[in-house]
Point group: C2
């Protein structure tokens, strides 16, 4: 659940509904809401993508927008350790977008869905006065024991990420400069969620906490720390080719998975991950005991010193 | 699942996904998608409400829009015989709507949710360039045996509706004339879904088919007939005070429940419904065998003759 805009508004919504019965749902604070049914868990997430805020129709193809709309939602399901099984899609389009544009959008949405066997089971199509609005709800399933939360990190855990970081941030700059076909622009416009990785990591007991990197490591790791009441030290980041530290640390929309792992099993997990997926998982730091009630990210320097920012490291905002 | 606009587009979506595995979900064609889990069923529906298409912000209060956004979605859950338990809400607002307007919207959404104990479990808030866009996904639960579909109607079934019809159509005319506080305008702007009625009817084995009246009886009964491969004869309609036949038959957004009932138990059901809810359920006609493969609605005249329209009776379109 990502919220933009008025934080007071979001807080007031949480307060309003906090007093209501939970109807079997578990508390908020994760990428998805969780409904346990027997030994199983169903997980739910909704994200909205809007023209002018999340994409520009003169910079993205309809196919790319459809593809991305599915991927960003199933990334949240993967971040829980669950398998995405279905989506509902609501689409508001200006009249002139019905036809070729809407058909291309659906081709992209379908291609992304088919890649992971995610069924479209419902939704709504309506006209908008202006602008394209896409709202997706994704549903995932997993054994209850597999569900990973942001709140599970323990002091001493090793922090890992499932792929290189920062390419999407560079890609966004390329896109805004009109370079729509660079390697990084394509990564930004048509991201790949780590769906199989998330499901596999869900089955690993040594994974204590997990989320996806949608707003940037600086922001998403902070959510894990806040929910787990811990601090962290970052020692290195796997920046993609041509990225700066800031791209890798603060850039958003990489859709890799960020996790904390019991340190006794970290090396073994990394070995097995590479054997399973034919690519490395990266160790980027460690979870540490917080000072008082402040949950910080520290950056380890080459000389071994750790630098904290009292103001936080800043998040990622869509253009 | 209501779809507007390009019907070719919707057909192409269905074709695209028809070839994919169902992941445990049952086929489409009802108010909700159904996921059986053991003896239980989970049901899912998404509807989008947009400024300029589904409401006008100078005619509806923010509270009313919030209230209605919840009600129209849980009406679809009730139509399946299920109990709504949770929603996800995605909201795109122009910058100037954050503040008083968004707070009032949430008060209405919360009041409607609280009335039936429906928890808000996720969603997204984002800016829009112009216009208010509301997307709600509602989740319901029921014993699998309680789930009612559009496809269950049998020849000889009695057709019933859970309340008076047409007030919302009259209310819409009032609203468009600027009369925002008439009784019917309020019914249109702040509808009440038949949530408890739906759950109760779900438990009655003699109810064979059900849907809600969102597009008007003429249109919604036709969906039941198409899915059940039957025809129907309408003998009378419980028009609300001040409504015409056309309002009651073709007017939309009444959010009553429309059902077909085994004729042997129809009188008993009507008696028990009135005892349970302190208000009548109305018998409006009967399901009949179709001629060939054409599924018609006939209107029974005072002289006993039945008039069919070969072109269908026309549906309801939002302004």
């Amino acid at each position: 659940m990502r919220m933009y805009g008025e934080f007071d508004f979001i807080e007031s919504i949480r307060d309003m509904f906090a007093r209501m019965p939970k109807n079997g749902f578990e508390g908020i604070g994760d990428d998805c809401a969780v409904l346990p049914i027997g030994d199983e868990a169903l997980v739910f997430t909704s994200d909205m993508l809007n023209e002018g805020v999340h994409f520009l129709t003169d910079k993205s193809t309809a196919y790319q927008i459809g593809y991305k709309s599915l991927m960003v939602n199933i990334s949240d399901v993967a971040a829980m350790g669950a398998k995405p099984v279905a989506t509902l899609l609501s689409l508001a389009l200006p009249q002139e977008r019905f036809g070729e544009w809407s058909a291309d959008f659906m081709k992209g949405y379908h291609a992304a869905s088919k890649k992971y066997g995610v069924k479209l089971v419902g939704g709504d199509t309506t006209k908008s006065e202006s602008g394209v609005y896409v709202s997706v709800t994704a549903i995932g399933r997993a054994p209850m024991a597999n569900i990973k939360r942001r709140s599970g990190a323990k002091s001493g855990d090793v922090i890992m990420v499932t792929g290189e970081l920062g390419a999407s941030a560079v890609g966004l700059r390329d896109v805004l400069e009109g370079k729509l076909t660079t390697r990084n622009a394509k990564i930004h416009l048509q991201p790949q969620a780590h769906v199989l990785e998330g499901e596999w990591l869900g089955r690993q007991e040594c994974v204590h906490a997990m989320c996806d990197v949608s707003d940037g490591v600086a922001s998403d790791l902070q959510h894990i720390l806040d929910e787990s009441k811990k601090s962290a030290v970052i020692s290195s980041l796997p920046g993609a080719k041509g990225t700066t530290w800031d791209d890798a640390f603060g850039g958003g929309e990489d859709y890799k998975l960020l996790l904390t792992v019991d340190k006794r099993y970290a090396d073994d997990l990394a070995r097995r991950f590479e054997a399973e997926f034919g690519k490395p998982i990266y160790i980027i730091g460690r979870v540490v005991k917080p000072n008082y009630d402040v949950y910080h990210i520290g950056i380890e320097q080459e000389n071994g010193k750790v630098v904290y920012s009292s103001a936080g490291w800043g998040g990622y905002t869509h253009f």
